[in-house]
Amino acid sequence: MDNSIPSIPKRIGSIQFGLLSPREIRKMSVTSIITADTYDDDGYPIDMGLMDLRLGVIDPGLRCKTCGGRAGECPGHFGHIELVAPVIHVGFNKTIRKVLRSVCSNCSRLLLEDKKKQAFLEQFAKLEDMTHLPDAVINEVFKEARKTKVCPYCDHEQSEIKFEKPTDYIEDGHKLTATEIRDRFEQIPDEDIKVMGMNPATARPEWMILTVLPVPPVTVRPSITLESGQRSEDDLTHKLVDIIRINQRFQENRDAGAPQLIIEDLWELLQYHVTTFFDNEVSGVPPARHRSGRPLKTLTQRLKGKEGRFRGSLSGKRVNFSARTVVSPDPNLSINEVGVPLAIAKQMTIPVRVFSRNLELMRAYIMRGGEEHPGANYVIRGDGRRIKVTEINKEELAEKLELGWIVERQMQDGDIVLFNRQPSLHKMSIMAHRVKVLPDKTFKLNPAVCPPYNADFDGDEMNMHVLQTEESRAEASILMQVQENILSPRFGGPIIGGIHDHISGMFLLTRNEKHITKNEALELLRKAEIHNLPEPAGYDKDGHPFWTGKQIFSQILPDGLDLEFQANVCNKCDTCKKLDCEYDAYVVIRNGELIKGTIDEKAIGAFKGMILDRITKKYGSAAGAKFIDDVTKLATRGVMKTGLSFGISDEDIPREARLNIDEEIAKAEQDVADLIRAYENKELDPLPGRTLDETIELKIMQTLGKARDRTGAIAGNHLGLENSAVIMAKSGARGSMLNLTQMAACVGQQAVRGERIRRGYAGRTLPHFDKGDLGADAHGFVKSSYKSGLNPTEYFFHSIGGREGLVDTAVRTSQSGYLQRRLVNALQDLEVQYDGSVRETRGVIVQFKYGEDGIDSTKSDYNDPATIHKIVSSVTGKEVE
């Protein structure tokens, strides 16, 4: 293999966390840094400067003076700066404060009696036994010690220590210097340190006050050479320069015997620079800025947050063998397929080892080279050398090809890839698809797989990852393939299924007893690869055979399927007439034959599809996938047969209907006026638990809501079942009757936080109304329909309501995203064991039975525990209680 990765020289046995002691800092340091300059005039690093060659090298050609490595080989080495006066490490402010408050200001002993100290130590031992963290007990120690007002050892009275941001500690109105704090901490005996939860060998409290500052290696803060040849230093280097400059000035001033005031100022300045070196976002400290005014990115900023070292560089990874482009629909693809643009397929490769059985095949790939489609881009020889296949060397390479070499062949039809759309919120956000190489420049996918990805085609982009090993391909095809994810573990029903046109197409096809000629029938079923038609349903008067839409649909149902359910179009009558339903809304399937009923969202839709659900559970996921494929193909042709379009004239309603609607609204307004009069005459009875004001609001809202529904019903009746919008709404394909009401009849009440609009001027919403007017139109009731157009006040109220919706969605997404992140972090290591229990990594049980009932929801009917009853009754033929 490649020799650039060195073998691991030592194995890690254990890791000890602690504080760096000044001794340790000096020990690991390769040089003291005393000058703030970096390079001399020749561009050569200055000795004992910030770019000293002993700290490691970043310029090519130079060698590290410590390890002799070249740039890239040398890992870098720490240096140090001797601080003239001690300063506080901002990161430890919390701990310093706690220790300072729990330690005697005179004798530096922990302010607890020996007995108590002993008790706490015992508690630590017990917690360690149980492998629990001692954090809670440590806090208890500090809390107890702080309560002590007189030192039990030297009887010294303790005074309150106030902490002032960012680094000041004030005792009796006098500011403690870092030196004073350090002196106190040095005096704390080892036993007392243990009681405070620290290990005196690895972390003495005085080490939280810095006397020596470690200087990170140059490899951590590389300078960049700009195009002009000018060097631009890293932010950390800039900060270190500041620290050294102030440190020097401090030294000079103190040696020259400068007045106390100047010394104190310089000390504070040194503290500021060291503070911002560690963290440039401490509250109370103005951030150190670059010349351009941009705040410097110092140590904490490098590690923290989404783009920090942990979340951005270590947990977040970037990958090879991936592609991203816009997605577009193609109902002729299987749900298990993904259309990949040729240009991408030529770039993506799969490594194949050469065996005697595929030698000739691999030769053929290489012979085609990188330009002609299923070719090969690289060949890896037996000795690990990687050779690019070019037009020039392809013949030579094909000739030389030996067993054991690896050929990186281009992706081709049938290869398995992972397909993903962000945000990846659930397992169905990444599924395995089989490749279908197609022309054009977008990924193509069957629109039935849009729901799990939450994708649409308004410019969405998706990612593809090419699997590189046989194991990963096997795993992906068994666990991650789309057909294995038809049933959602969230509710145990299908999450993949017909959407939009699939539903309206099937609805149009199976509704009514239409006569379909032989040619039409074959055309409809051609793509589903069904070539034999059943017995015709009858003969026309001129003797030609005809079939019905229900028969056509039955052809894609598997044999032996029995199912009965109420369709989406069902009117929810009081007593269901079942087979005699006059709306054809009771679906009956016997032995794979659609006898009665209309196919709509309830039958084949994503989330609801009953037929889909039954087929996947009874005949397996492959049959489910086949059914969805056939549905998408048949439905798109079905919808094309009649056509389905919608225009503004589809919202036209007859004059009489318009009059009816106006009447209805006028009546509602009259009712509201009556209510208001009753309210003003104090004749209104308040509802239980409500004030009078709330009651009137509620009643008005109710009245207007009902009125809007009634206008909707009037419009709906006049539009009729042949209206394409009604077809879409009733079949569940898209839109609702409410949408239609708003378009054709009346938009209705606009609300903010579930109440009528009240904000605006004193006592009224707009100057167009009287003060105190409680009427419908003064509080956001929109009488007009979208088609007739809104008047100015209505338009304004509608904008208020609409804006609330927008704000809500924006807030909801950010909040639920954060909730999701926290839940995932909390639950990611829990695992369902083979014994059905849920355990965390240590083996401690969290749930004795997964979900308390141990049921895999994908294998139950919509999480209904009565699944077993169905199985029993289907076998025995008897109903089970």
Partner: protein
């Protein structure tokens, strides 16, 4: 003040000290020791109520939306 039992409150599931034999079979089923059970402090009000001591195992019968009734076992610690 009148005395009342915590267990009478509808939000508190039924707690009892687990039967030794039953416990043994549970531990055997999951192939674990007592310490691997979820824990409950002896100072927990409901533990005081039923008088369980450190080392005992409390059996909790909870109402479950999925299973109707679900058993849970917690090891009493100090």
């Amino acid at each position: 003040m009148s005395k009342f039992s915590l267990l009478d409150h509808e939000l508190i599931p039924h707690h009892e000290i687990a039967d030794e034999d039953e416990l043994k079979s549970i531990l055997k089923h999951y192939n674990i020791g007592r310490e691997d059970l979820p824990k409950i402090k002896v100072s927990d009000p409901v533990v005081k109520e039923i008088g369980a001591e450190v080392g005992d195992v409390v059996k909790i019968t909870r109402n479950s939306a999925t299973a109707g009734e679900a058993m849970y076992y917690r090891y009493v610690i100090d």
